[in-house]
């Protein structure tokens, strides 16, 4: 077997679910395809899947790490969707399951391909596959959200294609024909600094739009806030990382080609700006899903800061990608449960969450503690490492700003969470919660906890190797 199966299994699932008229059977297909995908990734880590010339698929630690995260989040989304569609009927019908699996196939290509042109095509495909999912509620707000999403991301990604072409031109034409293969770019002895700079600007702005970095973030709160909850979890926990991987591929090329000094400050600057703006706007939110969306922007900012600093901070950033993504996905799942019970996205309309929905309420509070970086959860450990890297590499002011923003954000979020969690519920009824809606977020919380308490040696090794290709080192 070759790596093709990681693309073909979800693709076949997408076709089957597009043709199957029975909802329950479609959900079964979705679950089976998601579980098979995760199992096949396990096989790929053990070297059981050969490289493939079709789409230039190869398996490397960085791509494998992101794809594993995507697959874990996707399996949770698939399981949550089973419970979700029993409560809220998605209006998209067959498109719902089919587009979900189409997204998984496209993400697999992004994570595995060695060709930057194919990477671009696949990233645009993830935009197109998720657009119908965001539009699923079919109301005014979701139309507005999907329109902004489609237009801004498509325009941004068009610029990334321009950057991709420029990157090919940055190679010395006298030594080798311009190539868009990552492996060829990594081996290129010399990159033309002017072309590389131009390429990096367009690639960063283009893929950065999809990552939601400030100031290209304006579509993100709308899309994440209006989409059905399992889709919000998918966008926040999986899609943003897939887009961020595209930027990391360029960072890899920069490090191999001796252009790293140029891009570090850009990543740190945009990262800090994203944290700051997201933190400031977070305070103005009256809608808890939008609040989570701004928190997503903040965490993508943290990843950019870490990868820009290099050394152990890069290791911390990759670790943080795992922990924060799982925590974000879990919180979007639970916010879906809250929405089902309270029928409102307004923070002011929700009170007594822990009494009314004991399990969801507890998961909500614990999830927030995890996401805002409280020990012993993984984001605490990874942010600590990131700060150590910032101070160690001689950027104490970055560390200072980072801590200040984090403290303010924690203070802002905790007052809102406490208001939602505590107090007396307005209605005394206690709706029974389906375990399909509780097990996926609980499982993710367990993972965030384990990742914080015990970083297994194989995972630590993989994080170290992936970080080393980005100018990082293991602690």
């Amino acid at each position: 077997m070759s790596l093709q199966v990681l693309v073909l299994v979800p693709l076949a699932g997408a076709l089957v679910t597009a043709l199957d008229p029975h909802r329950s059977r479609r959900l079964a297909w979705l679950l089976v395809a998601a579980a098979m995908h995760l199992a096949l990734i396990g096989l790929a880590w053990r070297g059981g899947l050969a490289e493939s010339r079709w789409l230039w698929l190869t398996f490397d630690p960085l791509g494998g790490l992101v794809l594993t995260l995507v697959s874990v989040v996707f399996l949770a989304v698939a399981a949550y969707s089973v419970g979700y569609v029993r409560r809220e009927t998605p209006r998209g019908g067959r498109l719902f399951e089919s587009c979900l699996l189409g997204f998984l196939a496209a993400s697999s290509v992004v994570c595995l391909t060695d060709h930057l042109g194919i990477l671009w095509v696949a990233i645009e495909a993830t935009t197109l596959a998720t657009a119908p999912l965001i539009y699923d509620p079919h109301d005014r707000h979701s139309i507005e959200a999907v329109w902004k999403y489609l237009l801004l991301c498509s325009v941004g990604i068009a610029l990334a294609l321009l950057g991709t072409f420029m990157l090919a031109l940055a190679q010395d034409p006298s030594r080798a024909a311009p190539s868009l293969l990552r492996s060829a770019l990594l081996r290129a002895p010399h990159l033309d600094p002017v072309w590389f700079k131009a390429a990096f600007v367009f690639l960063f702005v283009g893929y950065g739009t999809k990552v939601g970095l400030v100031p290209m973030h304006t579509w993100l709160p709308d899309a994440h806030g209006e989409a059905p909850s399992p889709i919000s979890a998918l966008l926040s926990g999986a899609l943003l990382n897939v887009a961020f991987l595209a930027i990391l591929r360029v960072v890899q090329v920069a490090h191999a080609g001796g252009q790293a000094r140029l891009i570090g400050p850009v990543l740190v600057g945009f990262g800090l700006a994203s944290m700051l703006v997201a933190g400031a706007l977070l305070f103005r939110q009256r809608n808890y899903k939008r609040m989570l969306a701004y928190s997503s922007i903040e965490h993508m900012g943290i990843l950019a800061v870490g990868c820009g600093l290099g050394q152990v901070a890069t290791f911390g950033a990759l670790w943080h990608m795992l922990g924060s993504s799982l925590a974000k996905a879990l919180l979007f799942f639970v916010s879906g449960n809250v929405l089902i019970a309270y029928r409102s996205k307004r923070i002011a309309d929700v009170s007594g969450l822990v009494r009314r929905l004991p399990v969801s309420g507890t998961l909500f509070v614990l999830g927030f503690l995890a996401l805002t970086g409280m020990p012993p959860f993984a984001p605490f450990m990874s942010e600590l490492l990131l700060l150590r890297g910032a101070v160690g590499s001689g950027h104490p002011w970055v560390a200072g700003g980072f801590v200040a923003i984090q403290v303010v954000i924690f203070a802002g979020m905790v007052t809102r969470i406490v208001r939602m969690a505590q107090g007396e519920p307005e209605t005394p009824d206690r709706p029974r919660e389906s375990s399909w809606l509780l097990v996926p977020p609980a499982a993710l919380l367990g993972l965030v906890l384990v990742l914080g308490v015990y970083l297994a040696p194989p995972l630590e090794r993989v994080l170290g190797v992936a970080a080393s290709t980005l100018g990082g080192v293991a602690p």
């Binding site: 671009w120 095509v121 139309i143 507005e144 329109w147 068009a158 294609l161 072409f165 072309w195």
Partner: protein
């Protein structure tokens, strides 16, 4: 050959101005279609000798950028009964002035990039940046959602022009993938426009302003 290539590139620039100056939506879509046909023909002139691959790609580009997508947009306009006026926030004179600036900037950028080894005519790069910027002008100064799709098409055309420098070195699979993404993207945008018209009774993206902080 070179004279003919330059001629086609000038026509591409002319199409940009046609889009900027137009007061009717159908005309902007037709101008974008004409540009799409020119773009399909350009690689045949730039890179000989012709192969089955290059002919297939040229035919595909002409069919998609010149006929299929504009045809779909015109059809969608008729079906959704979109009014024909453009209602720009920047008038025709201002738009043309912005277009001239875009061309000027295109030449400045083309002169600054080290194109020596790249092997494409300088006019190609200038036209690419000018078309890209024209797309941005249309995207930012036109209120109607349908016109914004045309702006996106121009932007994509600008990127395509730049890609011609590399033509022959970008695998067919990638070129096909880019075209496929474009078709599906514009198709989904068209469907969203349809629903937008039903829900909001207008294709005015300026009215899409309920989601804010």
């Amino acid at each position: 050959m070179a004279a003919l290539t330059d001629m086609l590139l000038l026509l591409v620039l002319l199409a940009n101005f046609a889009v900027l100056a137009a007061s009717r939506l159908t005309f902007t879509i037709r101008a974008a279609a004409a540009q799409g046909i020119l773009l399909g023909l350009l690689p045949l002139l730039l890179h000989g000798p012709w192969s089955a691959e290059s002919l297939l790609l040229a035919g595909g580009t002409v069919a998609i950028k010149g006929i299929l997508l504009p045809g779909f947009l015109l059809w969608a306009m008729r079906e959704a009964a979109v009014r024909r006026e453009i209602e720009p926030s920047l008038g025709p004179l201002g738009s043309i002035a912005a277009g001239v600036l875009a061309v000027g900037l295109g030449f400045v950028l083309a002169a600054r990039l080290p194109l020596a080894g790249a092997g494409g005519p300088a006019l190609l790069v200038a036209a690419s940046f000018a078309t890209l910027l024209t797309g941005f002008i249309v995207l930012t100064t036109r209120q109607k959602a349908m016109t914004q799709v045309v702006g996106y098409l121009l932007l994509e055309n600008g990127v395509y022009l730049f890609g011609l420098i590399l033509a022959g070195r970008v695998p067919l699979l990638v070129e096909m993938g880019v075209l496929l993404d474009l078709v599906v993207g514009v198709f989904i945008m068209g469907l969203v426009l349809f629903h937008m018209n039903r829900e909001l009774e207008s294709l005015d993206s300026a009215r899409l302003a309920e989601l804010r902080d």
